[in-house]
Symmetry: C2
Subunit: 119 residues, 2 copies
DNA sequence: ATTTAATACCTAATTTTCTTAGGTATTAAC
DNA sequence: GTTAATACCTAAGAAAATTAGGTATTAAAT
């Protein structure tokens, strides 16, 4: 049996934008810290997005027009919400489809689709 | 419908060693050029390993003891075969299991396992 | 009351891993 | 006799992460 722990960092590389965009599709309004916690809890701590990766990614998504932002003050503490744009929705769909297709290809390549592995 | 083309490079990142090790498991003896062609043909040109990525990876695998090499001359042209070591087999198993688990997690995270997507 | 942990944002230096763009040389095909 | 395919390689640069900091508010624990 494979004991679950955090994935080695190489794997997560390249999927971060896709993860963020997809979460924003389902939640329509999220802030950075919330995203990192959501991913952590949804994956049983197996994927932990570091802040050094997350914030630059969010800024890049804003710069390229896939998200807009909205600052909200909770007392004196600021929260920066990210909202998916129409363009961002298209980007999200493309990215998710590509990743989905890629995973199928990898499954075939690594011979993982021969039996009941898709549980 | 999603039109198939080459995957954006970010996705392949982090999976190259796993791909190479897994191919060596099945073929027990392969050379660099052969590996790149095999991956290309098995994935209908969707994954094309560049030589600039492949050779350094092979050298790294040799350095860390996961593969050994064997030079063979075909006429005057040299071929450098790579053979999986016992250690490499363990590494391979770990990597493949990790990637497999990662893909399951991603599928769940991206909400891709709700219908008949696993065709 | 004060320290610690959690919340919430951010950036800069470094590392890893790839792409791009070269280089050498042999052999087969046109 | 040139081009394409085979077969190896490296170095410079880019991309995307990690590591390791920084600031500040609020809740929990001692």
């Amino acid at each position: 049996m494979y004991i679950c722990h955090m994935y080695s960092s190489e794997l997560i590389k390249g999927t971060l934008k896709t993860i963020v965009l997809n979460l924003l599709k389902d939640n329509n309004k999220m802030y950075g810290y919330e995203i990192s916690q959501k991913v952590k809890s949804m994956t049983n701590d197996k994927i932990q997005i570091t802040e050094g990766a997350l914030y630059p990614t969010l800024h890049a998504l804003e710069k390229q027009g896939d998200v807009t932002t909205e600052k909200v003050y909770i007392g004196k503490r600021v929260r920066k919400y990210y909202i998916l744009t129409d363009q961002g929705e298209n980007t999200m769909t493309e990215r998710v489809n590509e990743l989905s297709d890629f995973m199928k290809t990898m499954k075939f390549l690594l011979d993982l689709d021969t039996s009941a592995q898709n549980v």
